[in-house]
Symmetry: C2
Subunit: 308 residues, 2 copies
DNA sequence: ATCACACTTGCACAAATGTTCAACGAAATT
DNA sequence: AATTTCGTTGAACATTTGTGCAAGTGTGAT
């Protein structure tokens, strides 16, 4: 342990005057290695303190905590005080995707309002020559604007890449119909893609009774809905429902669903969820615990609630 | 110029989470060079601030200012709140000397209370095998304790080195006497040493009328004193008097003085002055402006007054 | 005094960081 | 539209920093 006076002196010359360690060593007639060690000591003993002075520095702290608590690869937060939160979130997701996408990547997408919004927010995308594939079947109505195919197609266009379409709704009337579709040669290719994704980008569905219940859920029969309610579903990801403990629900419904399975999804290296709101907190939390996604883009309010 | 959001993010990972630049680059999918640049930007824009939390961090700031203002090689300050300031100063000077002295150095010393005190404060000196020489003649009375020779001898003993004595008082009765002495072969050797010093350690004398007028000044004749007063002497270094503008005074007295000349002194690479007190401020200031010394050891009160 | 131990130092190497340069791409100008 | 200009980027190189190791130094016990 060294003289505090000396430590301070060294820290001052290094951090305030920006001298190199060699210069300081010459000044003080001490070996350079010692300077290096004195500086580590200065940091350990908090003789020097380093602060970050920005409004959103707190966000980063939150990100780190969340990342640690759920063992995530990454967390990206936006400030909850934005006027249009959903828009801001979409923009952030767009930037994030742009940042991590690499040439020839295979990118899978589910859908939902967040993802649809995202596409529009993508500015100056780079030519990645990536391939974009849907992870779930389409919604009931042929509402082009929110159709998975539209999302995938627009995204591919912006990135100068290719896209693959999906020609079926997410939920079929019977498991036989569903199996039939999935056994088609074209679907087999899609399934193969699902197993080799580089990046997956998914939304998270909240509880069934929530007002803004998303468009596609009209595909569920009243029986499905009853069943899910009974089993305490708190949300879905890629049309797979689960409860607060991460238990997958409604196996019968599952078998009528055309979508990537959560297990397959888990094989993707980068699995990003984009979701926010108080209502979705339990759904997000369960999904994180299950390890289905390893990257989360949300706002700080949601993040705060996820910490407990 | 980059996105502040990104800069903050990078700064956080680097300074708070202690990741390396390469790791951050991988996280954010950015080239490492860019991270380096972002960090410089973060510092420039004060997005990160680095503080030093020590009582005497302010001293260092003062030191830096003083150093800049007078173009000094180094400044070493002690805290003015010490109970015995002169003792503390002596101790600091001792440590400083110990720190910078190198094997076989040739070290010159003037005298004064500060330097005398210093010798006693030198603990655990290293064997430097240095040579110590007086820069000025002795005082009038044969007060062994404060004699230059004593200082030089004691110091040499502590450093396991050699010392050279001086066998004359600082001021002679006539220039002829003085010239005679200085022409002696032994003095010629001393003079040669003066021209090749590695380190010079000097005190600074304050104004004449000051109460604690130092011991040696009884060598001055009443005429000398009158002359100096008339020419507005504010202090001396190595028995050479000067005024506030750095003009050397009393050439007649000079010619009767046995001491290194300030010009010769200036040829020494490391020239340290040890002095403090309100009264000596003008003397110190003038000496610094003249460039006679390039290293100053004092207390922060004196330092503050020197800044204006 | 001698030994043993803990602790510090400097050297040499490994890792991390800063910087130059050439190529690229976006805006602005013709 | 073609061309110029400006600013950004990554790769390679130069510099700076961190660290394991062996040698040195002081301290305390025997």
């Amino acid at each position: 342990m060294h003289d505090e006076r000396l430590v301070t002196r060294v820290a001052y010359q290094y951090y305030i005057q920006n001298l190199t360690q060699s210069q300081i060593a010459k000044n003080l007639n001490i070996g350079r290695s010692t300077i290096s060690r004195l500086l580590t000591q200065a940091r350990q003993q908090h003789i020097v303190s380093i602060n970050i002075n920005t409004a959103d520095a707190g966000l980063l702290e939150l990100e780190a905590q969340l990342k640690a608590q759920y063992h995530l690869r990454n967390v990206d937060l936006i400030d909850s005080t934005h006027s249009d939160l959903d828009l801001a979130l979409a923009k952030e997701a767009a930037q994030y995707l742009k940042q991590i996408i690499k040439p020839n990547n295979l990118v899978g997408l589910s859908w939902g309002a967040s993802l649809a919004l995202m596409v529009g927010q993508l500015d100056h995308p780079k030519a990645a020559n990536a391939t974009f594939v849907p992870l779930v079947g389409g919604p009931s109505a042929a509402n082009a604007k929110y159709h998975v195919n539209t999302i995938v197609y627009d995204l591919a266009k912006k990135f100068m890449g290719n896209s693959v379409f999906i020609n079926a709704t997410a939920v079929q009337e019977s498991r036989y119909l569903r199996d039939g579709i999935m056994n088609a040669k074209y679907f087999q290719e899609l399934a193969r893609d699902w197993a080799h994704l580089d990046i997956a980008l998914v939304g998270i569905g909240g509880p069934l009774n929530h007002k803004t219940t998303s468009r596609w859920r009209d595909l569920l029969t009243p029986e499905d809905q009853a069943m899910l309610k009974e089993q305490r579903a708190i949300g879905d990801c890629c049309c797979t429902f689960y409860d607060a403990n991460g238990k997958l629900l409604a196996p019968d419904l599952q078998k009528r669903t055309i979508a990537i399975s959560l297990d397959t999804l888990k094989r993707t290296p980068i699995r990003i969820a984009v979701a926010r709101s108080k209502e979705k907190v339990p759904a997000i939390k369960a999904l994180l615990k299950m390890g289905v996604v390893n990257t989360l883009i949300t706002d700080n309010e949601t993040a705060n609630q996820l910490l407990h």
